[in-house]
Point group: C2
């Protein structure tokens, strides 16, 4: 039986404070000791990926103490409860079942009289069948022509994850002859978002997927109408161009406005829904269902590793523990993700959502205030671009920002050019290696303006190539890392009450029920 | 004569500490007092924009003390020295002249025997003439056909600013019949970046602008060759498709590889180069030189406001002072920019560069270590998207993150849809107003999970529409804000020594001159 306790009640946590500042990163990462750490502090992940934490401010003793914390906090047991169908989302009294969309780690989960694993699988089969017919020209537009473009209309979890994954795999798919349809995304209630996308596509050959679990997301319903107007302006029947991804109980579920509807449910939070029909429909249409299935396989393989109780064999758990060490023992308030892969350009934006929305909480899962820091601010941009942007502060700023890099040995297109004796891909990875050492070791200089203090921690996830499996494994890693951190902080990582007040006040503005500052700002903005 | 002194030597700075925690933001932003603040704490900007700081943790007393600090720190005089041509970039012993690209605030600046204002103007005239010929079909491809696409090849300052501005004005230009050419950007040394862009364009009808001040930026030269190979693979003469933006002394300046070369110089830092030929060439080709001239007019008008010594009439200076108050008195380590405008989606990424690269420093302009925090980590994404992503942490996380919003009364396309009695644009702005009040005032609740503490400060810049002038005014505001913060922190905001060590180590990796951790990471990454 697991016990849900606050982080500061664990003995293993208290034991960690004595280790603070004991690792001189610049020293241990220099010379032979550095080489040793690189080969030793490396945990295999699924699909040939590896998590390397050599350049983090840890040593064997700290890793042991973190393992003690994992044990005392029952991280593995808590995950087991989750995937076996416990009500982990206590605030909303819901199961948390996104892992079931990609594999089954434990028992059958029966909820509302339904085997949920079978339900999710069924939806993916329905999507695969539908996508197959679209690709084969069996489902066509009113002129009997094939659809060439798919547009996802959704916001938050219905947008960021699917968009990030589409961008991550677009080049790979193009290079491997798997790019079946171009995908676009409409999310913002800003009318220029929809107008801009609609201007860039051929509406007559486009399918639109309206994604809203509740069927009531105001941004999404508004953009749905925006798109319908545009379709009808072309003299077309909107219902022949639109699909729905929603829950079976939503107003969108059985509705003749849509060609088809695919289902998710309340046990999958928006930000964890990329592996459900929310990501499945758009990605199966864009790349074919086989590619999406390979993505799910990568997630499932990494989920399996995450179920291991030993953090030294469980990269997501270890990454989570080191992150909590940095946040709560070292006191770093920010973290950044820096993929050395242009294809992962929007991966940080998705994980910013998963991380900050899951663990940006000030009360524990019982609603009690807590006395330690929880989720940190999170941002990221691809390298080497970032090197020419904000890395100045990472190297010489007055705050230390712990980092995580991602790199791949091979590019996706495998088209390259050699300049000054090396390819672009080699230059890319040379820069990544150089940054990690520069940040950790620093460099002295007579001129203090050219001095690098070092001692700036980072880790790296390395893979062979950004394939569908690798992409899935990466996403699973971060989802599970964030889950384990939520367990450690004892927060409910699966609700988001913090977004409610803004919604309530926005409704008041729209109903012209305002006074004071709300009235003032509304008038200022011309509302 | 100005005196360059550390922030903590100013009496006015020390006086600010007694004000810490004296503003109960939730209280003063409630009821009539909130309405009063919204109308009172508002400073006009250029082109109908306004900077509103009602929801910041300040009061009249703090504003007076900040004005004293501005005075004691001689902010206006320092800016005057800068625009009159003093060697403000002490590290590299350079003038800082980006303001001159859009107008002349003070005396003629003569450097290297040249009137620099005239030089920058001349370049813009040359660009305008060239762009005019391209648009008129006088400069055409080898088949005598018009160019339809322009691709910027550059990284950092040669990429982020021009890209952000292109995206900011693309819809406006399309809606107003000013979109002359589609623009694309290649930046990352990751070979998939160039491959992906090249696959998406019609190379035979594309112009490529290679942008590198020194003519030696490795990423950019590598991508130039990548593109040349692709052009030649189509059987075309690359030199008929390529332009250069560089300094007159660079190897790219007089080179038959290019159709034309336009010039900038060492007195314009990369991150401040959007208003020089770096932004001018691509934006004049994309939108026409008249639109770029209007953008520069907006910058010039805002620069003029920034020259005012009274921060209550100088929005960039006031914004800078409030930011330093939040960083150094209140101790907030992060800041975020949240434009309620999808067109500004990459504006935060550009300002992340300008801010973190300029002020992420640990030594003052004399190379002495300083004992206070300088530049904060900076991130941002457009709203309402962010509301469905990381806003949970902004409202209920354990850290306070000071925010700045941006909003416009009108959309760019002016195509809208009414759902439940309001347009999308109205919904967008209703959400913005609601967020500011929710963050400031919070809301009590019996259930602590639904409780909002409030006291989370934000400001907003409001405009009529995101026009070229408004976009220019916005960029100038932030550039000058960051400059004033650099003056306050007494750092050199115009060098970037922190990026050098990584470059040196990357070169060692490429020369196979590695050992220890550098060797380890290189091998791990397949280098």
């Amino acid at each position: 039986m697991v016990e849900w306790k606050n982080l500061d009640t664990y003995k293993a946590y208290q034991n960690l404070f004595e280790t603070k500042g004991k690792v001189d990163l610049a020293a241990v990462m220099s010379g032979e000791s550095g080489a040793e750490r690189v080969s030793k502090y490396c945990v295999p992940m699924a699909d040939g990926l590896a998590y390397n934490f050599a350049a983090k401010e840890v040593n064997d003793d700290i890793i042991e103490k973190l393992a003690d914390l994992a044990d005392e906090a029952q991280l593995a047991q808590k995950f087991e409860e989750l995937y076996n169908g416990a009500v982990i989302n206590t605030g909303e009294k819901r199961l948390v079942l996104h892992h079931l969309t990609r594999g089954q780690l434990g028992n059958d989960v029966i909820a509302d009289g339904v085997n949920k694993g079978e339900f999710y699988k069924k939806q993916q089969e329905r999507i695969a069948e539908f996508a197959g017919k679209v690709h084969a020209g069996e489902i066509v537009n009113e002129n009997g022509e094939k659809f060439t473009t798919v547009v996802q209309i959704g916001i938050g979890g219905s947008d960021l994850g699917p968009r990030a994954i589409y961008l991550a795999l677009k080049n790979w798919a193009a290079a491997n002859g798997m790019l079946k349809m171009r995908a676009e995304f409409i999310s913002n209630v800003d009318p220029d978002d929809a107008a801009c996308v609609l201007e860039s596509i051929d509406i007559a050959h486009s399918l639109f997927i309206v994604v809203s679990k509740s069927g009531t997301t105001l941004e999404t319903l508004t953009n749905e109408l925006f798109v319908k107007n545009a379709i009808e302006k072309e003299g077309l029947d909107a219902s022949k161009h639109m699909l729905a991804v929603t829950s079976e109980t939503s107003p969108m579920a059985k509705n003749s406005d849509y060609l088809a509807a695919f289902f998710m449910d309340d046990y999958i939070g928006g930000r964890y829904s990329s592996s459900s029909a929310v990501g499945g429909a758009v990605l199966s249409l864009a790349f074919g269902p086989e590619v999406f299935a390979r993505f799910l396989d990568g997630m499932a393989a990494e989920d399996k590793l995450s179920a291991c109780a030993d953090p030294k064999k469980n990269p997501a758990m270890l990454d989570a523990l080191i992150g909590v060490y940095e946040r709560n023992i070292m006191g770093y308030p920010i973290t950044a993700l820096l993929p050395y892969s242009q294809a992962l350009s929007r991966f940080p934006a998705h994980l910013q959502q998963v991380d900050m929305e899951s663990n940006g909480k000030s009360v524990n899962r019982f609603g009690e205030e807590i006395n330690y820091k929880t989720g940190a601010a999170f941002f990221g941009e691809p390298g080497t671009n970032g090197q020419h942007s904000f890395y100045q502060l990472l190297h010489q700023g007055t705050d230390i920002i712990p980092l995580q890099f991602i790199g791949f040995k091979d590019s996706q297109y495998n088209i390259d050019v050699e300049v000054e004796g090396s390819t672009s891909q080699t230059k890319l990875n040379a820069n990544l290696a150089a940054q990690m050492v520069a940040l950790a070791c620093g460099k002295d200089d007579e001129n203090p303006n050219k001095r690098f203090e070092g001692n700036r921690p980072s880790s790296v996830i390395v893979g062979e190539q950004l394939t569908p499996e690798a992409c899935g494994a990466l996403l699973s890693h971060y989802e599970n890392k964030i889950m384990f951190q939520g367990f450690l902080w004892n927060v409910n990582s699966f609700d988001q009450e913090g977004v409610q007040l803004g919604k309530v006040l926005a409704k008041r503005v729209l109903a012209h029920d305002t006074d004071g500052a709300l009235k003032g700002f509304s008038e200022l903005l011309g509302v």
